[in-house]
C-alpha cells in the first residue's frame, strides 16, 4: 500500500464514519443533495485523486482511488464522488480542464438520448467516451441548461433522464470507446465491495448485541457460520475489485479487451453483481425483522447493492461479455490469458 493510499483510507474513513450516520442518511434521503458533505470531500481533494499534480490534482493512482470509492460504498455515501473521480480522470486524459463541482458518467448516449444518469440533476456536467466521425472522443456535456426527468434507483439516488441536451464538447482521446462504461462498472464493483464490508460489520455488531434463548446470537454456530460466509464473500469482492483497480494501474486500456483491464473489470463487476443476493440475504437474515424496517440503517446498504449490481451492466451483461472473452480465447489460450492478466509487460514487479 502506498503512503497516499493509507493516508486516503484513513481520511476517508474518518470523514465518512463521522458524518454519514443513520440520521444523516434519513435526512439526506428526504432533502436530496448533501452540499456540506460534498464540500468536505472537495477540501480533501478526493475527487481529484487521479488528476496529475501539474493540473492541480493529487497525482494518485487507481489503487489510491480504490480506497475512496470503496469507502463510498462502505458508508453509503450519497454523492457522485466515484463518478466525479472517473470523469476528472477522463477529462485529464483528454487534456480538457474539468469544470468545478460534481460531475457524473453518462452510462450510454444515443444521439441526444441519455438515460439513468447518476446524480444528473446535481452534477454540473457529464462525461462519456464514444465513437464520433473524427474518432474516439471524451464527450463533456454541460448540464447547465439540460432539463431532466427525475428518476431514482432503489436507494433513492438520482438516476435522471435527459429531456433536452446541453452544450457538447468532444475531444479526441487515446482510449477505447467503451472506456467510460467499463470504468463505471469498475467503480460500482468497488462500491459493492464496500457495501459487503458494511453488511458484515453491521451483522457482526448486531449479533454481538442481540440476545435470544439466553445468549447473544453470535454464540450460535449457525449464526457464526453465516457471518463467516458473509466475511468470505466480502473478502473475495474486495480482492477482485482491488485487482481490477490495480490492473488499471499496471495495464490500463490497450488494443485488446481480452488481455487488458477490461477482462479484470468484467470479472470484478460480474462477481460483485452475482454476490449481491448472498451478502444482502445473509446480513438481513442475521438481523431478523428489525433489519427489514425503515428505522434501521441496514437498508441503506442493501438497497444500494440491489441497484448497483444492475448499473453499468448487470450480471447478465457481464456474464455474456466474459463468456465471449473465454470462448474467443478458447481452451488453448484461456489459461495463458488468465495468468498474464494484470502483468505489466514493460516493468518488472517487486
Amino acid at each position: 500500500m502506498s503512503d497516499i493510499s493509507s493516508m486516503l483510507e484513513d481520511s476517508v474513513t474518518r470523514l465518512f464514519s463521522d458524518k454519514v450516520d443513520r440520521e444523516f442518511l434519513h435526512e439526506q434521503e428526504k432533502t436530496g443533495w448533501a452540499e456540506e458533505l460534498w464540500e468536505l470531500t472537495e477540501e480533501l481533494g478526493l475527487s481529484s485523486v487521479l488528476v496529475k499534480e501539474d493540473n492541480g490534482g493529487v497525482g494518485g493512482d487507481w489503487a489510491d482511488a480504490y480506497e475512496i470509492v470503496k469507502g463510498c460504498g462502505r458508508f453509503a455515501v450519497p454523492l457522485p464522488l466515484p463518478e466525479t473521480i472517473v470523469a476528472r480522470w477522463l477529462l485529464d486524459q483528454a487534456n480538457l480542464g474539468a469544470p468545478e463541482g460534481p460531475l457524473t458518467l453518462i452510462p450510454a448516449m444515443d444521439g441526444s438520448d441519455a438515460k439513468r444518469i447518476p446524480w444528473g440533476r446535481n452534477a454540473v456536467a457529464g462525461c462519456i467516451t464514444q465513437v464520433t466521425a473524427s474518432g474516439i472522443t471524451v464527450r463533456l456535456v454541460d448540464f447547465a441548461y439540460v432539463v431532466f426527468a427525475n428518476e431514482v434507483n432503489l436507494a433513492k439516488e438520482p438516476r435522471d433522464n435527459c429531456l433536452t441536451m446541453g452544450n457538447l464538447s468532444d475531444v479526441d482521446v487515446n482510449l477505447p470507446a467503451d472506456a467510460s462504461f467499463y470504468l463505471g462498472a469498475m467503480i460500482r464493483s468497488a462500491q459493492i465491495s464496500g457495501i459487503a464490508m458494511a453488511l458484515l460489520e453491521q451483522a457482526a455488531m448486531y449479533s454481538g448485541e442481540r440476545s435470544q434463548f439466553g445468549r447473544n446470537l453470535n454464540k450460535f454456530q449457525t449464526v457464526q457460520h453465516n457471518l463467516a460466509r458473509l466475511a468470505t464473500a466480502a473478502a473475495s469482492l474486495d480482492s477482485i475489485s482491488r485487482f481490477a483497480f490495480a490492473t488499471m494501474d499496471n495495464v490500463g486500456f490497450k488494443e485488446d479487451a481480452k488481455t487488458d483491464v477490461r477482462f479484470a473489470i468484467a470479472a470484478a463487476k460480474l462477481r460483485t453483481s452475482e454476490c449481491v443476493d448472498l451478502i444482502c440475504s445473509l446480513s438481513h437474515q442475521i438481523h431478523g425483522a428489525i433489519g427489514f424496517t425503515y428505522e434501521h440503517s441496514l437498508h441503506f446498504y442493501s438497497r444500494r447493492a440491489w441497484s448497483w449490481r444492475s448499473e453499468f451492466g448487470g450480471s447478465s451483461y457481464w456474464a455474456n461479455t466474459l463468456g465471449d472473452i473465454a470462448l474467443e480465447l478458447g481452451s488453448e489460450k484461456l489459461w495463458g490469458a488468465i495468468t498474464a492478466l494484470g502483468i505489466n509487460e514493460t516493468t518488472t514487479a517487486d
Partner: protein, 388 residues
C-alpha cells in the same frame, strides 16, 4: 486488534518477472510430458502419483524450490513455487508423489528440523525420490484433532509408538510420515503435549499400512497402525510437546494454494473443447461466471502467496481461500451437467468430458473435507474475526 476491514484485505500481487520466464519453461516441459496422459488421467491432478514424473520435475529443479541451496533447493520464494504448482495443476500433471513433500514437509523440515534431518531428507525431496504423508486424523479424532490418542513414549532405545492414524493420503507409497502424536498424556489443555515425528514407513517394524478404497474404487488413503513401533530419538521433529503450533504453521500454505481452486480445471478445459465443436453460445453466461470465479480465487490465492513470501501471518486469509475454493470446485460438475446434456461415464470408450465429469462428480465431496472441513474453517473464520 486489527479491524475486520484490515483482516479481510487481499492486496493484489504480481508475480516477479523471473517467475514468468520460469512459467514458459514449465509450459514447454509439460507440453511434451503431458502428451501421453488422457483427460481422465489429468483430471486426478494432485490425486495422481507418478514417481518417474516427479523425478523429472526434480531434475528440472522444480521441487523444493523454496529450500536452501545447500540442501538441494533453489532458495527461491513461494511465488516461484506457485508458478510451477499452478502450471502443473492446470495441465493435470500427476504431481501427487511429490505434492505433500514439496508443499509442506520439505519447508517444515527446513524450518524446524535437525541438521541430520535436513541433510538426509531435503536433497531427496528435491530430487523427487521420496514421497511424504501426513499422519493427523485418527479413528476417533477427525475434526476434533486435538483429541488424538496415538502416543509416543520415550524409552532408552527411542520413541515407542502405539495407535492408529486414518485417512493418511499416500501412506502406501510414501517413504515417510510426519505424524502428530501425544507425548505428554497428562497435558492440559488437550492440544498441549503433542509432538511431531518423522517416521520411516518402509523400515520400521510394527507399522502396518492398510489402503482404504474410496468411493471411486481407488486406493489412495490409508489406515496406518502402530504396534510398539520403535523409532529413534532423533525422529522427533521440532520441539517436544510443541506439535500443535508446528502443525498450525504448515496450514497457511496448505490451504491457500492453487490446488484449492484448480481441482476441476481439467473439467473446465474439456467442457470448452466440447463447446468449441458445437453450440458454444448457449453456454456463454455460465462460462463467464466460472471464469469470474476462477480469476477472483486466483487473485486471492496469489495475494496470500505474496504475504507468505513476506513472512506475514496469513492463516485467516488462507482459510478463506480454502472455503471459497472448495465451494467453487464442488459446484462445477453440476454446472457442467446443466450446460451439456452428458451422462457421467467412466468406461474406457466414453467421451473424455463424460469420463472427467464422472471422476470429479465423485471426488467433489472430498473438496470440503480434506485440509479441514468447511464447518471447521467457518468456525476459525468467525473466531479470528472476533465475531463469535
Amino acid at each position: 486488534m486489527e479491524s475486520i476491514v484490515d483482516l479481510l484485505r487481499y492486496d493484489p500481487r504480481q508475480l516477479p518477472a523471473s517467475a514468468e520466464t520460469l512459467r514458459q519453461d514449465v509450459r514447454d516441459f509439460l507440453a511434451v510430458e503431458m502428451k501421453q496422459y488422457s483427460a481422465l488421467k489429468r483430471a486426478y491432478t494432485w490425486d495422481g502419483a507418478d514417481q518417474t514424473f516427479s523425478e523429472k520435475m526434480g531434475a528440472k529443479g522444480w521441487l523444493g524450490m523454496m529450500l536452501p541451496k545447500e540442501y538441494g533447493g533453489a532458495g527461491l520464494s513461494n511465488l516461484e513455487r506457485y508458478v510451477v504448482a499452478e502450471e502443473t495443476l492446470f495441465a493435470g500433471a500427476p504431481v501427487g508423489f511429490h505434492w505433500i513433500a514439496d508443499r509442506q514437509s520439505g519447508p517444515l523440515i527446513a524450518r524446524i528440523g535437525t541438521e541430520k534431518q535436513k541433510t538426509e531428507l531435503l536433497p531427496r525431496i528435491c530430487r523427487g525420490e521420496i514421497c511424504f504423508s501426513i499422519g493427523m486424523s485418527e479413528p476417533n479424532s477427525g475434526s476434533d484433532l486435538a483429541s488424538l490418542q496415538a502416543k509416543a513414549v520415550r524409552t532408552d532405545e527411542g520413541w515407542l509408538i502405539n495407535g492408529t492414524k486414518l485417512w493418511t493420503t499416500n501412506a502406501h507409497i510414501a517413504s515417510y510420515m510426519i505424524g502428530l502424536f501425544r507425548t505428554d498424556l497428562n497435558a492440559q489443555p488437550k492440544h498441549a503435549g503433542l509432538s511431531q515425528f518423522i517416521i520411516d514407513l518402509k523400515n520400521t517394524p510394527g507399522v502396518t499400512v492398510r489402503p482404504i478404497e474410496d468411493l471411486t474404487g481407488r486406493k489412495h488413503f490409508n489406515e496406518v497402525v502402530f504396534e510398539d513401533a520403535l523409532v529413534p530419538h532423533d525422529a522427533l521433529l521440532g520441539t517436544e510437546n510443541d506439535g500443535w503450533r508446528q502443525v498450525g504453521s504448515e496450514l497457511a500454505i496448505e490451504r491457500s494454494g492453487p490446488e484449492r481452486f484448480l481441482s476441476c480445471a481439467v473439467l473446465f478445459v474439456e467442457l470448452l473443447k466440447v463447446l468449441e465443436k458445437g453450440d458454444e453460445q448457449s453456454a456463454k453466461r455460465e462460462i463467464g461466471s466460472i471464469l469470474a470465479n476462477l480469476v477472483t480465487l486466483r487473485s486471492m490465492s496469489l495475494s496470500v502467496s505474496g504475504k507468505l513470501a513476506q513472512g506475514d501471518d496469513v492463516s485467516l486469509q488462507a482459510v478463506i481461500v480454502k472455503d471459497l475454493g472448495a465451494e467453487f470446485e464442488q459446484t462445477l460438475p453440476g454446472i457442467v451437467q446443466k450446460i451439456v446434456g452428458i451422462e457421467p461415464n467412466l468406461s474406457d470408450d466414453a467421451e473424455p468430458l463424460a469420463q472427467v465429469l464422472a471422476l470429479l462428480t465423485m471426488l467433489a465431496p472430498s473438496f470440503s473435507l480434506r485440509g479441514g472441513t468447511v464447518e471447521i474453517l467457518r468456525g476459525i473464520i468467525a473466531k479470528r474475526l472476533g465475531i463469535s
